[in-house]
């Protein structure tokens, strides 16, 4: 067989989702004239940025057989805290300072959540499912409480507006669309480097596959897991910055509906919920899949509840393809 063809085949075997992505682009090409417009592509990229960052974070945690539900509440809580700093405190007078403070605040929120999650899982030995679910409840509860108590008087709005226009740069508003895209790309590349090139990455996979073996082999299991939660929290904080900037307001419900999308992207990409296999490259494809799917269907004017139906079915198709491909590749399982 032709060498090039073989190579392509190998890649497709590894990432069967590529077949689907090609198909989706073709569909878009023929049925939606507005797909290949600069505006739409920009739009698509922009919309995928937070999903990518959040999914990278979740991928990291999931590689260790953990889960982090709290990222969506970091998004919300970070958003209102940051927006409050920029719009409702004396910092509002100095936009640049305000933005810096807000950015630190939002990233810090994520890190704090990560630390709490990580400590609870490694020190108190609680299951991450419960810890992070609880942190999600507390975080989103706190976000709403914050807006309705401390930040309430000014207007009757449930969101915090009046952010400095310059902040929009971080969300890609105006001609700055490449800013969030670059940030997301940096997060992605960093995560990939971490997982594939470093000792830490090796440890992550070892711990995720079998924590007992890892421990016996002297890998710092607790430290690894802890760091992953912190990183995941930090990513959530970063994505809170981007999303808040893009919406130009602090929204206490910002992350509420996002979780299924995030975990969907991670899993459909191919990172196992049981840990040990997958990676951010796979997740990137998952993210593209999720974003593309909605975008194309929106452009095709599919009724919203039919979108749900089709989404479900498409996920099957992709997973089925995965199954067929994997069955052919050697040494998987029998």
């Amino acid at each position: 067989m032709n060498e090039k063809l073989r190579k392509i085949k190998a890649v497709v075997m590894k990432y069967p989702i590529l077949v689907f992505l090609t198909a989706a682009v073709l569909v878009a090409l023929f049925f939606t004239p507005n797909f290949f417009t600069v505006f739409n592509l920009k739009n698509l990229l922009l919309q995928s940025t937070d999903l990518l960052i959040l999914s990278c974070g979740l991928t990291l945690v999931q590689l260790n057989a953990g889960i982090d539900f709290s990222i969506t509440s970091v998004l919300s809580l970070g958003s209102v805290l940051g927006a409050y700093l920029m719009a409702r405190t004396p910092l509002a007078a100095n936009p640049l300072l305000g933005i810096c403070a807000a950015v630190l605040m939002m990233a810090g929120t994520g890190v704090v959540f990560g630390i709490i999650n990580g400590a609870a899982v490694t020190r108190l030995k609680m299951p991450s499912f419960i810890v992070t679910l609880v942190m999600q409840m507390i975080g989103s509860g706190a976000a709403v409480l914050f807006v309705n108590s401390i930040a309430a008087e000014a207007t009757l709005s449930a969101t915090i507006a009046g952010l400095p226009p310059a902040f929009g740069v971080l969300g890609g508003l105006g001609n700055w669309f490449f800013v969030p895209v670059l940030i997301a790309a940096a997060v992605f590349l960093f995560s990939d480097w971490l997982l594939t090139k470093t000792r830490f990455g090796r440890n992550v996979y070892a711990v995720g596959t079998n924590a007992r073996t890892a421990e016996v082999s002297g890998i710092p299991v607790k430290k690894t897991i802890f760091l992953l939660f912190v990183l995941c929290g930090l990513y959530a904080g970063i994505s809170s910055i981007l999303a808040t900037a893009r919406n130009q307001s602090g929204i206490p419900t910002l992350g509420d509906k996002m979780f299924l999308n995030i975990i969907g992207a991670v899993i459909i990409g191919g990172t196992s919920v049981l840990g040990g296999s997958g990676g951010v490259r796979q997740t990137l494809l998952g993210v593209i899949f999720m974003s593309l799917m909605t975008n194309v269907m929106n452009l095709m004017n599919v009724t919203w509840y039919i979108i749900l139906l089709v989404q479900g079915i498409l996920i099957f198709v992709v997973a089925m393809m995965d199954y067929v491909m994997k069955r052919q590749s050697a040494y998987q399982e029998n």
């Binding site: 073996t213 050697a330 040494y331």
Partner: protein
Amino acid sequence: MSDVILKLNDICKSFFSVEVLHHVNLELRQGEILGLVGENGAGKSTLMNILGGIFPMSAGSIEFLGEPYEPASPKYATEKGIAFIHQELNLFTNLSVAENMFIDNFPTGFLGRIDKKKIRAKSQEYIDKYDLNVRASAKMGNLPMGSRQMVEIAKALMKNAKVIIFDEPTTSLSNREKEKLFKAIRELKENGVSIIYISHILEDVLLLCDRISVLRDGKVVHTDKRERYDRAGLIRDMVGRELTQVYPSVEKEIHDKVLEVKDLNCAGFVKGVSFCLREGEVLGLFGLMGAGRTQILRAVFGLDPKESGEVRVFGEEVKKPSPGECIHRGMAFITENRREEGLLMPRPVSTNLLMVKNEELAGSMGVVDTKEEAELCRKMVKTLDIKTARPDQQAANSLSGGNQQKVVMGKWLLKEPKIFLVDEPTHGVDVGAKYEIYRLILNMAKEGSAILVVSSEMQELMGICDRILVLSNGRLTGEVRKEDYSQERIMKFAL
């Protein structure tokens, strides 16, 4: 003793286009014990797995009791009367001993209710029969490996099967348990049950079996009566070359103390144990099943908590031992439980081999050197003769049992530890590879490492150790020097 009850014709088996069994023919007669030997990865377990309905065969046919036998599932095999003791223990750690023993055949009463009294009573009966010293209601996960293995055996013996397959049943058993097992096997034979017995302990095979088949590279090379075989002959058939020496002899010197353990106590399983280990020394630790040997190693290595006692490494006390800390100080530990603690089963061989060494290979910013990794991995695969086509792709769980053990060994050898704690190092490894492992261990000692070996095979300890400590019920009961070695002497302390 003459009629053939099981006949395997031209069995072939491939895993993903790699053929591991080539036209195997085998016959099993009524009431005989057939020994099956062969190098690691020769295909013994695979053949038996086909018989037990776990893998489908690629080609060939089987006849059982004169009828065609098509093992589509393990259930089919059980129903036809073929029981199977797997090389890898097949127990459920979250269930009780009694439940494990009856898991595939619960006696049920009204409304499908499991008769718990009955299974407890019946399993207790078998436990007592083999002097297992566990309660039928104990949780499997809390038992030491040896007891688990005995439970697995008892479970198969309970089944009234016509054919019982033993795949390496004695890897964690000491002589006493082994003798009980052999007695049971002979009893079965008297009752007309046919047995296939797979083992790398050739003495056992020669002692127990009526006929012996030798498998090499997926082919039966020879089958003959036991009387016609001797150890050397078996090895010749298995390996294809002579192997006169069983234990390598290496000249070495013993120097200073490197590891000192004083008055170690652990949760009632280890009581007041003190010993020391010197540079260049190979120290054996013998004891019967559950004597607490493993527990000592685990406590020293910081895997299980110790209640009291002192551990000094190179003269320095390790206050709070943890595996990371111990490795940092130059220690290594080979676990007896490779499946749960030794390997990353679904990960490739190379990953497994390199997981300890990683720490050192990483340069600035923790970036690892992939070239060097590949080179090291290649060398180790070669040294230990690990049978794998592509070490960077083949998952550890698709290796044969012995090769898995070699991987566990290899990952620590790469690290070149100064103090090496090994628990059942040759667990399921064939004679050729055993020799290689002994040689490596002794060479390490020569280079100045200190090695503490736990093994249930007394021969092995006597072959390589400078000194043997004997443990009974968690207490050190004796120390035997090389010049005083004798089976009786050691056993006397162990009882």
